[in-house]
Amino acid sequence: MVTEFGLRLAISLTQIGAVMCIVVITVLILTLAERKVLGWMQDRMGPMEVGPYGILQPFADAIKLFFKEDIVPAGANKFIFTMAPILCLIPTFIGFAVIPWGPNWTFEINGIVVKPFIISDINIGILYILAFASLAAYGIILGGWASNSKYSLLGGLRSAAQVISYELNVGLSIVGVLILAGSLSLVKITDAQTGWFWNWHIFALPAPQIFAFVVYVISVVAETNRVPFDLPEAESELVAGFFTEYSGLRFAFFFLAEYANMVLVSCVASALFLGGWNAPYPGTLMELVGLSSWSWIESTMWFAVKTYSLLFLFFWLRATLPRLRYDQLMRFGWKVLLPIALANIVVTAIAVFIYQRI
């Protein structure tokens, strides 16, 4: 009994450790990739000093942030000020527990069923992610409020205004996919998209979710506080927005949370709309050449390709678009995205209903 519990714990901790490592490494790559891609798009070079072509820049940044002085401003609510970065970071990392990275395989160790490519296959995976993603916004709002600074407070308030504009649209744009897949589990949703790429939910009959995908991408850009919806941290208006007063490791937490959140929403988007770990063709090439036990590499690579393409889209948007005013964001969210998402649900529901009757 104790050994079984210990084994389960060991397996889970191994998986959690592996996923955390992958996410943190991805964030390190992203911080460099963003600066490089932005630089290239603006005819600059990006970081070039640390290491060959600046590839060691993320480590230099990390070391710098570790050793910076940790300042708590006078008059700040110290408890909430300390808690806010953690409140921002943890929900983001928790979300990765239900992301399927690879094929839905299982194997047994001493009678314990282990799914190697997902930490926890719970049947309400997507609801779980949405719930925790909403919690992360509290970290931003509370961090802005607890700093005892005008700019932080304004950033936090803008974040609150932004939450009500995008949160609903993220949820509603997903509903069409849920109707098509008939499940809230990310594993089942991904499994429903096997085969050719036109089985992916973005193209799938009877109701292609292309509009829902667009709504989702625009909304998650707002959710992750990225340009053109980076109102809470608008550096040209509010010094750095909600993390103006943060320094050192707490700032690093906010930074990590933002990038991890980008990775999370890209993973969710690729799992929901772009077929997750499914290749654009049925099966895998590894199976064709007789290496079916290694086909998970190909699957995870496809997942990574989709996720990184979406992350590239984030950088691309940042290099292209200026920042919106927040009344524009709210008007866009409520008067454009929300009707599209609602219409998408109605159309998808009717199409699926008719499709099942035929």
Partner: protein, 188 residues
């Protein structure tokens, strides 16, 4: 200042452009074309430096003649020409030679200098020069308050080729720094 914006009738193509984010796509195409045709204009400054133009106006320096004597005759014209009062000259007679003057002290407050080159133009004996040095960032701005020795040192390292000292000059031309014993007497 109406709360609702004026609704303009959109033509079909305009409407189509609006719903497909056409303008945003044009912008994204522009940024992507810069990524694909990647030609950075960055100069990796400390490693590679831009070639300076010939008339580059850099750090000021005091010059010497080829025999090592200072050119400066302490005439204060540079101080008068300077628009930002960078220069302060304390002029004095050369000991033992009452007809010659020199700058006993010469100070430049380079924190104020705007590198206009007027002092160089004003100098009657070309005792001032503009070098091609520009990397003069210092941690303490008092280090930019230069005295005569420092300015001469800058001149020594930037102008290795020195002008020959003229001992004979035409008597009708204003002349400085010339020992009068060498001038032939005017024929009466």
């Amino acid at each position: 200042m109406r709360s609702t914006p004026t609704t303009k009738r959109l033509s079909l193509s305009e409407w189509f452009k609006t719903i497909t984010f056409y303008e945003i796509l044009v912008g994204m195409k522009a940024t992507l074309s810069h990524l694909v045709n990647y030609r950075p204009i960055t100069l990796q400054y400390p490693h590679e430096k831009r070639t300076l133009p010939d008339n580059y106006r850099g750090m000021l320096a005091l010059l010497r003649y080829d025999d090592g004597t200072e050119k400066c005759v302490g005439c204060d014209l540079c101080e008068a020409a300077c628009p930002s009062r960078v220069i302060r000259v304390v002029s004095a007679e050369v000991p033992g030679e009452p007809t010659k003057r020199y700058s006993k002290e010469y100070y430049m407050d380079m924190t104020r200098c705007l590198f206009c080159g007027m002092c160089v133009d004003a100098c009657p004996v070309d005792a001032l020069g503009m070098t091609r040095e520009f990397e003069w960032a210092v941690y303490d701005k008092r280090q930019l308050h230069l005295n005569k020795q420092q300015l001469l040192a800058i001149g020594d390292r930037s102008f290795p080729v020195r002008e020959k000292r003229l001992e004979l000059q035409h008597p009708n031309v204003a002349f400085f720094n010339v020992a009068f014993s060498h001038v032939p007497p005017k024929p009466n």
